[in-house]
């Protein structure tokens, strides 16, 4: 099993519904593959085909779970609101392997899963979606294994009250990233040990990367 699959499995702990749906689909695919294997004697060739099939089936299940986003490569936000879940993305087109959308409360749990899987935090950033009146917080994870696997965890928080729990307990490196995000967007990371301006002057009370910021 590749690292992408493994990580995907691990991340599915966050989303019981998707996991259940997938397990169902996998069972169905397995049954199908078993039937195929019985029918055919060339076991090895069939084996690889069946795993591929299973993967495809899982992917199909995913799209079924998100009727608004039929094709994986397309931007989900454009087609309508995307539901929480793990999405396998095309690395060549996106630069990431897995894309996770979760609730703000779940980021700590996600960070814990990533930490256990041996990932490190590359960056945290915010995006101010002023038209939708919400903010996005994006966590980029990466690992140092021989095969690439980049995971992006994203969540949406209301613009009026931008609060999200901190993950600096799990990833100490997040400390500065969260301070920086607080500088730029005013996102309050609850439980952060020292949420003072990092890049801006000590007394700064403005958040320059907000779309409605004027100096």
């Amino acid at each position: 099993m590749s690292i992408v699959e493994e990580t995907r499995k691990a991340l599915l702990q966050l989303f019981p519904e998707q996991a259940a749906a997938e397990a169902e689909a996998e069972a169905a695919a397995d049954a199908e593959a078993a039937a195929g294997a019985e029918a055919d004697t060339d076991a090895t060739a069939e084996d690889t085909a069946s795993t591929e099939e299973a993967g495809e089936a899982a992917g199909g299940e995913e799209t079924a779970a998100e009727p608004a986003a039929p094709a994986k490569e397309e931007e989900p936000a454009e087609e309508g609101p995307r539901e929480n879940g793990v999405l396998v993305t095309d690395h060549a087109a996106r630069g990431t392997h897995l894309d996770v959308l979760c609730d703000p409360e779940q980021v700590v749990e996600a960070a814990g899963i990533m930490d256990e899987a041996g990932f490190f935090l590359e960056a945290i950033t915010g995006v101010d979606w002023i038209k939708e009146d919400r903010m996005e917080v994006i966590y980029d994870y990466n690992q140092t294994g021989p095969d690439p696997c980049r995971v992006v965890v994203r969540t949406f928080i209301p613009r009026a009250n931008p609060e999200i729990p901190t993950i600096s307990e799990i990833h100490p490196g997040a400390n500065w990233h969260e301070r920086e995000t607080h500088d730029f967007f005013g996102i309050k990371f609850q439980g952060h040990p020292y949420l003072e301006p990092l890049l801006l002057p000590e007394d700064a009370d403005f958040h320059p990367l907000l779309k409605d910021f004027t100096p």
Partner: protein, 373 residues
């Protein structure tokens, strides 16, 4: 050498290192709580050269942001060019001709050499050796000459274009690069290693100083030579290949000693590996155009977000581009490697001597404008 610190709170004093201090390579400030010469607590204070690059990306078009990339990490400007260009090309779906990819690799690696040479110079200056600085600059000037011929500038290159590079390289550049490779190969063992690396004072000052465990590297997200000096075999060029790096045969130097000397050796070995890459790229250089045809003047990538990572001289540089279908980036997050590398400093420097802490800081290879962006 770790010494348990036992002091009363009233016996410590706060030493303000920087923002103007010869060892901080720019305008980093470190608030040090000291007990005599021992550091009890070190807290870096950033932001003295925060220049709003990410805000500027939202203000101008994609092409207008190109010069900014060179001004973040001015020592390895072309890697930043490369990372940004990759992200935009990925977003806009632009194919790059093969010759352009080769030229990109050659110039990026040349630039990596100049960056490592400057690090070496500045590091030795931190350790009190002034002469190596001038020797390294001697070699570095030759790289700058080569790059200046084709890019037009000495330091803050803006050479890459979406879908290629600005200028083709000519025979004179190729001949000059080959000469330079020969020259640096002959000077590396004699001048760099005999004079400095094997110097007993240098070894005594770097061995077992600034111990970073692999777990610390992971927790803080350290990459590049810092991680490789701690035994983590991670190089974006190998692990997540981009451009034409898979075509070349090169090694990723990894040392497991985890100390400043290991980081020093990683960079010295990387110089040799970069020379190997350049040599192979010059041998294999294909013919063809250096710019993709039909790249629109005004790019309007489809909405969505895109990520591209490259291996800069200091570690993995990542570029997260969020587009909303407009002609400028909706949000551009630049993941700079030294930002994460420096966040280690506070934890590792605790209990160190001041002199050792500064040697350790030098071994992290900081470029402050890249941290502050």
């Amino acid at each position: 050498m770790t010494v348990p610190i036992q002091c009363r709170p009233d016996e410590v004093f706060v030493l303000n290192l920087g923002p103007q201090h010869p060892a901080t390579h720019g305008v980093l400030r470190v608030k040090l709580t000291m007990d005599g010469e021992y550091i009890v607590k070190a807290e870096p204070v950033l932001g003295y050269i925060h220049r709003m690059h990410e805000k500027m990306a939202e203000a101008g078009s994609f092409a207008q942001f190109m010069p900014n990339t060179a001004r973040m990490d001015y020592l390895h400007a072309l890697a930043y060019n490369h990372g940004y260009v990759l992200a935009v090309e990925r977003a806009a779906g632009i194919e790059v001709p093969e010759r352009a990819e080769y030229i990109r690799v050659i110039t990026v690696e040349l630039n990596r050499l100049s960056s490592h040479l400057l690090w070496w110079a500045a590091f030795l200056l931190d350790l009190g050796g002034f002469t190596p600085l001038l020797y390294a600059f001697d070699d570095r000037e030759r790289i700058l000459d080569l790059l200046e011929r084709i890019t037009g500038s000495r330091l803050t290159y803006c050479y890459f274009r979406f879908g290629g590079v600005y200028n083709d390289i000519d025979d004179e550049f190729i001949a000059g690069t080959r000469d330079f490779i020969k020259r640096l190969r002959s000077r590396l063992p004699r001048m760099y290693h005999d004079l400095v690396t094997h110097n007993i004072i240098l070894i005594k000052r770097l061995k077992d100083i600034g111990f970073i465990t692999p777990e610390q590297c992971r927790k803080y997200g350290a990459t590049g030579p810092v991680a490789r000096g701690s035994g983590i075999n991670y190089d974006v060029r190998k692990n997540e290949p981009y451009s034409v790096y898979p075509e070349f045969d090169f090694d990723v130097p990894v040392y497991t000693e985890c100390d400043s000397m290991a980081r020093y050796m990683v960079r010295m070995d990387e110089i040799e590996q970069s020379l190997r890459i350049i040599e192979q790229a010059l041998d294999k250089l294909p013919d063809g155009p250096v710019k993709a045809k039909k790249v629109p003047k005004i790019l309007k990538p489809a909405a969505g977000d895109y990520y591209a990572a490259v291996e800069a001289a200091r570690g993995a540089f990542g570029c997260r581009l969020v587009c909303d279908g407009g002609k400028s980036a909706y949000r551009l997050k630049l993941r700079s490697p030294t930002f994460s590398n420096l966040s280690l400093f506070g934890e590792v420097a605790e209990g160190m001597l001041l002199a050792d802490a500064l040697a350790f800081m030098g071994s992290l290879d900081l470029v402050i404008p890249e941290i502050d962006r």
